[in-house]
């Protein structure tokens, strides 16, 4: 019996440590948009064992290394979406206003065909985020879109820092109102944040005292994953990505983080971040925004499509994200809109979807630009990626090809379950495509917390 258990254990541990495939490749004679080192014409990029090993002219392919002819084509770093809900089989854990203990790592769905559609838009990494139903939501998962496996572990961005979702404004207060609990206002949101961090400090002190105690008869305090996660945030081990819209709530969170000495902060959506751009720059907070979405709710009514340009020009680290299974397929086009709305340069616009989100996720040492030593996460385009007429042709992760338009077979599903139907038709409606509140079923809230029952 013990032997069988050991065997099983060994089996599962190999599954968890799934080997990620790495490729070798020579991309010949392309226009290389490095993002960090300008545009290099007629340049080759050599990939060895999943890493960019050389960038230069007239490089020779080592024996056995495949060559991709990129003559007349554009080569750019793989696009990174700092706000996505594709490949998640659940989005919201809405049973409490603080659910720091849950994590999206448990709900990664490697079968979502949305992953392939994103790859077909040059995307190589996503930040799979928890929803915005509660003030302190669950932890997120940074991923590489290694489509084609049934094993969720193969899609993890190994070594990426932990991140967590916070949410301010209408979404969490709507939840509070429907349940008859705090918060029902932006005052309550602030209070909830301060109370939670204060509780976590007390929790941390108990453990500090325990760890300092040399007595052999000491008794450990109760372990609380929720509180421990908040302690980790305050220690800078978990990066906060906060759903937010209005300038006042953005400013409020900076003050709270200042008081609790939390150094790093990224505001997600942040439609009104432009109003407090100088404050964001001074604090060192960053913003991940839409190119032009607005007016879908009151707190985004006073938006401007110039948001990203105002932030960039004020020195705020800014990225453009999708929060949508549709937009994610053309983030290059969303980034290009900053040239119409604010005249950003090509390098600035491209950084919005590559290097800048990489920095916000703490993975810029690995991805986000075409540099020697970085992961070979690369997209090749027909036409400049900031042109409306551009067509993504190939997408590589760790030097392995995951999308190639010339051999696209149409049906990209990797698993067709018995319940799937080829004739099921879903009509796309952009206004139903905000997935932040998906699964945050208000009726379920009411039933859960109703005093009448």
């Amino acid at each position: 019996m013990k032997n069988i258990l050991t065997l099983l254990l060994a089996f599962f541990s190999t599954m968890a440590l799934a080997q990620v495939q790495k490729g070798d490749l020579l991309i010949k004679n392309g226009t290389v948009l490095t993002v960090t080192n300008g545009t290099l014409e007629n340049t080759d990029v050599l990939v060895r064992d999943g890493k960019i090993s050389r960038i230069g002219k007239d490089l020779r392919a080592p024996r056995g290394v495949e060559t991709v002819d990129a003559t007349g084509k554009f080569v750019m770093p793989g696009i990174i979406d700092a706000h996505s809900h594709i490949a998640g089989s659940a989005i919201n854990e809405g049973t409490s206003q603080v659910t720091a203990e849950v994590s999206m790592e448990d709900v990664v769905d490697p079968l979502d065909v949305g992953i392939y559609r994103a790859l077909a838009g040059g995307v190589t990494s996503i930040h799979l985020m928890h929803g915005s139903a509660n003030v302190i939501g669950g932890q997120n998962e940074t991923m590489k879109l290694r489509y084609g496996t049934m094993n969720p572990d193969e899609l993890r961005f190994e070594g990426a820092p932990r991140t967590i979702k916070f949410a301010l404004g209408e979404n969490p207060t709507r939840g509070g109102r429907s349940r008859g609990i705090q918060p029902q206002s932006r005052m309550g949101v602030e209070n909830m944040l301060r109370t939670s961090f204060t509780q976590a400090i007390a929790y941390g002190k108990k453990w500090d005292a325990y760890n300092a105690d040399k007595s052999p008869r000491k008794v450990a305090p109760e372990y609380d994953l929720r509180m421990q996660t908040l302690v980790d945030i305050m220690n800078g081990d978990v990066l906060v990505h906060c759903h937010s819209y209005r300038a006042d709530e953005i400013y409020m969170l900076m003050k709270v983080f200042s008081d609790f000495n939390i150094p790093k902060l990224t505001f997600q959506h942040a439609n009104e971040a432009y109003k407090v751009a100088p404050e964001l720059a001074a604090f060192g907070a960053s913003a991940s925004v839409f190119a032009d979405w607005w007016a879908y709710k009151l707190e985004v009514y006073y938006s401007t499509a110039y948001n990203a340009a105002i932030l960039t020009n004020n020195g705020v680290l800014t990225s453009i994200n999708s929060d949508s299974g549709e937009l994610i397929r053309h983030l290059f086009h969303e980034a290009a809109k900053t040239q119409k709305y604010g005249e950003l340069t090509d390098d600035q616009a491209l950084a919005l979807i590559t290097l800048n989100p990489a920095k916000q996720l703490g993975i810029d040492n690995r991805v986000g630009s075409i540099e020697v030593g970085k992961d070979a996460d690369i997209a090749i385009f027909e036409g400049h990626p900031l042109s409306v007429y551009t067509v993504p042709l190939m997408t590589f992760i760790d030097g392995v090809k995951y999308f190639d338009k010339s051999i696209d077979k149409g049906d990209a599903r990797i698993y067709v379950g018995p319940e799937s139907s080829i004739s099921e038709v879903m009509i796309y409606d952009r206004h139903n495509d905000h997935r932040c509140l998906e699964g945050a079923n208000v009726m379920a809230f009411e039933e859960l917390f109703s005093n009448k029952k």
């Binding site: 065909v113 000495n261 007016a295 110039y306 340009a309 036409g383 409306v388 067509v391 879903m426 952009r430």
Partner: protein, 448 residues
């Protein structure tokens, strides 16, 4: 000490006055109201895309009292015309969106701010034009991107209401009305619900049968009503009355059908009913049955182009390629965004369609002349031709290209100011005054 303070105060006040007086005059200039103006305009030295008569390399357009009175390379400029030199610029007919709720929807999540859906399944008599808010914030946001005319439509139910074409400038719905109306019908659908709540095939079938019965009952009554119209015995029946002009072939009927099965079924339905002025809208799966649509001769308004394929098994670019496939099969195609606040992205939907098989020229027609003709206003707008309404925009280059800027705009002959709330916010906040100094302390942080 106190006297000294007073002196300083006086000095300070004097200084303030000196500083503020010029500021005040500046402020007045800043607050100047930008007004549209009408008149006799000469637009010169531009590359003119007429759409219907090719490209004029170095052309001139004369607008007089709202109408294009001359277009060409050798046009004499009237002495009393105000001349605009557009050297290096390109001029296009205003873009037309074939399906929006612009003017009817202000803030998505607030039902009080949405007026595009009325209670009930049969509400064809509901007039979109009535509910158009000429002062919607989204209207200037849209037109400064070169979209000058839209089809604004009621949604929901089976017979949603009466949609209308509107120009995106004017202070009353009647000033905005662009001259055509049509009934909006959602063809009973086989598509399976929305993401939040999928329906079983049985539920879908039941729902579809019920809707089909509602549809046929209504049109049977309308056909009867059309025959009895002049009889004294007929009592008022507004929802059926609204359908009579369609039965008589006097008004357009827009049938929303997206799934391939529904498209085919709606074509058969139209044939059986014999209605004349019919347009298919949505048509997301048109590429599956493009030849059948072409054979029917029914024109199509399709979009959004930037959309997810309708089936998980479809190719990732099915929606991008759809307009081109239909157009190549011989279908007359116009495009729509099906949006309210982001109708400004119409040229990008066209750009994607162009890149994925439609080609630039067809895509341009799809959002100008084709849209105008399908919407029944082809004699008024959709191209730069003598006698047409002056709905025109001036651009720094190809308007489909993302970085291109629209610099000037004429709607119904009015030169409309190039401003919107989003532009004003940019002007105010790009270099905000005061900047950060005043508040720096409150958010200072000890770096770890």
């Amino acid at each position: 000490m106190i006297r000294e303070m007073k002196n300083i105060r006086t000095l300070f006040a004097a200084f303030l006055m000196l500083a503020i007086v010029p500021l005040m005059s500046l402020a007045q200039e800043d607050d100047q109201v930008l007004r549209a103006r009408n008149g006799k305009f000469a637009l010169t030295n531009a590359k003119i895309y007429t759409v219907t008569n090719g490209i004029i390399e170095n052309g001139t357009i004369i607008i007089d009292n709202g109408i294009i009175v001359a277009v060409g390379a050798d046009v004499k400029i009237p002495a009393d015309a105000e001349v605009f030199d557009y050297k290096g610029k390109e001029i296009y007919p205003g873009m037309i969106d074939g399906g929006t709720t612009l003017g009817l929807a202000e803030i998505g999540s607030i039902s009080e701010a949405n007026d595009f859906q009325e209670f009930g399944q049969l509400t064809p008599q509901m007039q979109a034009l009535t509910a158009v808010n000429p002062n919607s914030t989204a209207i200037p946001v849209t037109r400064v991107s070169g979209v000058t005319t839209v089809w604004t439509m009621p949604r929901g139910g089976v017979l949603s209401g009466t949609a209308a074409t509107i120009n995106l400038f004017g202070y009353t719905p009647d000033q905005m009305f662009a001259g055509s109306k049509g009934i909006v019908m959602n063809f009973p659908s086989t598509a399976g619900g929305r993401r939040f709540r999928r329906l079983s095939p049985e539920e879908v079938k039941k729902r579809q049968d019920r809707a089909l019965k509602t549809v046929n009952d209504a049109w049977d009554k309308a056909e009867l009503y059309a025959k009895l119209e002049n009889s004294d015995e007929v009592r008022s029946y507004p929802e059926i009355e609204a359908l009579v002009p369609v039965v008589k072939g006097e008004m357009m009927l827009f049938i929303e059908a997206n799934a391939a099965k529904d498209i085919v079924a709606s074509i058969a339905w139209v044939k059986e009913r014999g209605y004349k002025k019919v347009i298919l809208t949505g048509v997301s799966e048109g590429w599956r049955v493009a030849d059948q649509i072409a054979e029917s001769g029914i024109p199509v308004i399709t979009g959004p182009v930037q959309a997810i394929p309708t089936r998980d098994s479809d190719s990732y670019d099915a929606a991008y390629a759809n307009p081109g496939i239909m157009s190549k099969a011989g279908v007359k195609v116009a495009l729509r965004t099906m949006d309210s606040e982001n109708v400004r992205n119409l040229p990008y939907h066209a750009g994607f369609a162009a890149a994925y098989g439609m080609g630039r020229e067809e895509a341009l027609k799809a959002i100008t002349i084709n849209a105008a003709e399908i919407l029944g206003i082809g004699d008024k707008v959709g191209s730069i031709e003598v006698g047409k309404q002056a709905n025109i925009f001036v651009a720094t280059g190809d308007p489909f290209e993302t970085a291109t800027k629209i610099t000037d705009l004429f709607i119904d002959g009015y030169k409309v100011p190039m401003t919107s709330r989003q532009i004003r916010l940019y002007d105010e906040f790009l270099n905000r005054t005061p900047g950060v100094d005043k508040d720096k302390k409150a958010i200072d942080i000890k770096k770890k």
